[in-house]
Symmetry: C2
Subunit: 542 residues, 2 copies
């Protein structure tokens, strides 16, 4: 392997080459052959696969070759291997970046202060699996000796968005497949435990959840890596008060913690149990650690969560492939660079044709925008090019009846990332007017790809569709835990490759600090900036 | 009043003047005095008010004056009055635009083919109020003679996003205020009926909702203005099948329709009841018509919905004010024009500091992007300037732990629209580390406004906050039905004023048509475009 060196991407030869290349006209080039050939897949084991199709992106073989050269010049695969081997890639905070290890060993073990960290993460997940099994079997019970039947995750940001998106994405699958205890749901099955989430410091968030649950039957998961997150500790206080009001004798025995071993939370013996992560698991990359593992294993069983980890691990392995045409996350990343830096598109829409993925775009919004929304490179020097785009999205077909108007006929071009599945999760369906719901769903998806790419000319400019709106399609047979894990890892690795290309540190978030400092000032008693004091008074603080 | 004439806004004198003006440096100008003076309010009656503060926007008195001149040159208030008086402002479809009339009479009555349309909309709402009262009192019952306790809205786009956002926004308020029947919730109160929503043609959406409800106890609302919406009719088939499976004797007697009087749905006598809208209520503007009125009156009672209408009507009246400094929606609109066309910012984030408003940004995304995502003017000629921006957002403080990193330190500037409330809805709160949750929430909000505006220099570029990120603040004492109605109308009127400035038709959506045509082709049996056939096969259709 060549020596690793870091440089801004406008210093590469490929950058100059890409500046001279022109996008193809999709209406001319997009044929059936192109659809069949411009695709890369990931084998997920168990007969499952995830495919990435980029036929409807505005790239030619020349452009892909130049993007491949850019990836080589920026040593993306070599840097990914360094990262997976335990390099201190989070330069600003001087930390390793090890979320990949939570789903399996990619390279040789990463040993830190004598501890094999892959083994440590696996051990935590095993502890969670045992704990979940004990809760499900009734060995571990609520204060009153009766079983827990509900779990509430209390956390914010990466402790909320990812786990919540994954929970919603699998709820239908688990309930329909009977991969849970049988019970009295209207269609006969249900998850092992119902899950809810409290995140916002707005007290109405906790109030709404606490109204819907029975505290006496509920196990709370307090998730904070540092053990000092303001929102989460405040919500813990609300939860403890609600448990006490409900007559629970030992409120803290209804709480487990997911935190780092050195945090204040970990030091308390009062909680029912604690499970650990460490500083090498970034918040927005923590869904496959105990942060997602506890709530998902309790809700759905540890087996389902293990399937998700296996899917993510398969995607992580596929991302090590050096041939860009066989590496979906690398291809996806580099096409994004083409769109952002050479075509000048400032945002990207993520559009899953699956209601179960309703909150996945919100998770990607954090993962992408918090990782690559940076203006300095990893050596803290200002960069001279645009970095991370705005990410937004809603499920299809809902979005078609909402913001697609602008996507089709607005004055800006927004690149699109579609996600689709051949089968539904639940299987409930009906034939209506000659087709099933699932057929209608996917007919809409295929139609949109072509409508965006090829448009349709009209003499009436109001009915004219200019087309040339690029999109990609990630798809699989069905949204299973394994496929979901692979999708999660696909996007994580895409974001990592883009950050490495831009030469930014995708793993810190200094941009959240100033707000914390000023909030503390407002809540304190010292003198404030005049405008800050005026806004604080306006809002009833101070 | 001068004659009304329509022209592209780059033909105005103010356009040239605005091009020459420079944004102020917020770090220099943002003082307590500015916070106190750059604000306009709306009196909502009942002692309530909504305030719009633009102190942290990058405008000077000169810029506001030029924007006011632009508003005058484009005759925005005069055109709004024309619209409210019943002009055919939806030029492409040759329709009036009358959603304002659903909340009250603004000018003299609009009479169409002998019918007073304001009276017609009011009559429909009175019919809904009577119907809801009969359901709540048990006069109207399910097939088995027992009461309905749950309502499910079946609709998509404007029949889903707005009503759902409003339902979620008021749920806590209604439950906490006891403005509903008392029942067995953990904190003692609940809404009159629980509401759910089915929108997506993805069968998993209906499956998930149908699993959570008891069909025998549920009243469904089928919402489709045309009575032909593919998704909604398909979901009706799923609902009917589920009602039949549950042993409901007359499934259609568990369904009411909200549709136009001429639609196929309206002609059926089989449904329990039908309530009407017409072609002059645009889908994304229909929340205050029967489209939102039925579900919200059933869930919360017609009184709460009437309060919402009153708040919206107050905002509609305030939008007629000709002095921009006294007209919040006009000021908001014109500052948006400044940002989009003169500062070059391509997107806007909507950030409510209230978990109850979690889906309000998704509603605004439709309302704004579908209205003004247009490339031709109202005479169907291409425009030479950017029109509607990308709209996205999530509640604070959650967003702070997600995409705010990019907002603070990314390479692009994203204008921000904050929303805040002095008090929480529920009142449940706890003092923790010297402050309540609500105080922490609002301290964060005030802090973010200043952090974005003023930044904070650092010798370490990684910790440097450049500031100069503009934001506005809409705020009220508490998120009540009246305030929510005013917020809804504020944004509708903002979008209307921007569309009139850009000289586009904000009330059609031709951009949704091509996808429908191609979907029909896929579901048919004729020959397809090769790429469309290949994608269809990939997704298991054809």
């Amino acid at each position: 392997m060549a020596d690793i060196n870091y440089k801004d991407f406008d210093k590469t030869g490929a950058f100059e080459r890409l500046k001279k290349l022109s996008a193809p006209v999709l209406a001319d080039v997009l044929t059936a052959d192109r659809v069949k050939s411009m695709q890369a897949g990931i084998d997920l084991g168990n007969g499952e696969a995830l495919q990435y199709n980029y036929a409807a992106k505005q790239v030619t073989d020349d452009i892909v070759d130049a993007l491949a050269t850019l990836a080589e010049e920026q040593q993306l695969i070599a840097k990914y291997r360094e990262l997976a081997a335990g390099a201190y890639m989070n330069t600003g905070e001087n930390r390793r970046v090890l979320h990949h290890l939570t789903r399996g060993q990619l390279l040789s073990p990463v040993v830190h202060e004598g501890k094999d960290l892959g083994a440590f993460y696996a051990e935590q997940q095993q502890r969670i699996a045992d704990f979940a099994e004990a809760v499900h079997s009734g060995t571990i019970t609520a204060s009153d000796g009766k079983p827990f039947d509900t779990v509430v995750q209390v956390g914010i940001g990466g402790s909320d968005l990812g786990p919540r998106a994954l929970y919603l994405a699998l709820l239908n699958y688990i309930q329909a497949s009977g991969n849970g205890a049988s019970a009295s749901g209207s269609r006969g099955r249900k998850a092992k435990m119902a899950a809810h989430f409290i995140s916002n410091v707005d007290p109405d968030d906790a109030a709404e959840v606490l109204r819907r649950i029975e505290p006496a039957r509920t196990l709370f998961i307090l998730v904070s890596k540092s053990g000092t997150t303001q929102e989460t500790l405040t919500n813990e206080a609300l939860v403890l008060s609600s448990l006490a009001s409900a007559g629970v004798a030992s409120p803290k025995k209804h709480i487990i913690c997911v935190t780092s071993e050195t945090s204040p939370l970990a030091k308390s013996e009062e909680y029912l149990a604690s499970f650990f992560i460490d500083d090498f698991i970034g918040r927005r990359y923590s869904s496959t650690s105990a942060v997602g593992g506890a709530v998902l294993s309790l809700a759905f069983g540890a087996d389902a969560f293990q399937d998700l980890l296996d899917g993510a691990h398969a995607a992580d392995r596929s991302a090590m492939e050096t041939d860009i045409r066989k590496n979906p996350s690398l291809m996806d990343a580099m096409i994004g660079i083409w769109e952002r830096n050479f075509q000048g598109y400032p945002s990207t829409a993520v559009l899953p044709y699956s209601q179960a993925m309703s909150r996945f775009p919100a998770h990607l919004q954090q993962m992408d925008m918090e990782s690559n929304g940076k203006q300095v490179n990893r050596d803290a020097e200002p960069v001279a090019y645009p970095t991370g785009p705005v990410i937004f999205g809603e499920p299809g077909t809902n979005g078609q009846h909402s913001f697609y108007q602008l996507l089709h006929q607005g004055t800006d071009i927004i690149p699109l990332q579609f996600i689709g599945f051949v089968e539904s999760q639940d299987g409930l369906d009906v034939d209506f007017q000659g087709s099933t719901s699932q057929q209608k769903l996917n007919a809409n998806l295929a139609a949109q790809i072509i409508a965006f790419a090829k448009g349709s000319p009209s003499d009436n400019p109001n009915k004219n569709f200019p087309g040339e709106r690029p999109s990609s399609l990630l798809y699989a047979q069905r949204l299973t835990p394994r496929v979901l894990g692979a999708l999660l890892a696909h996007f994580e690795n895409k974001v990592m490759f883009q950050g490495l290309t831009w030469n930014v540190n995708s793993f810190d978030q200094e941009g959240v600090q100033l707000g914390k400092v000023l909030t503390k000032q407002v809540l304190g008693s010292g003198e404030l900036d005049g405008a800050l004091e005026a806004f604080s008074q306006t809002l009833g603080v101070r």
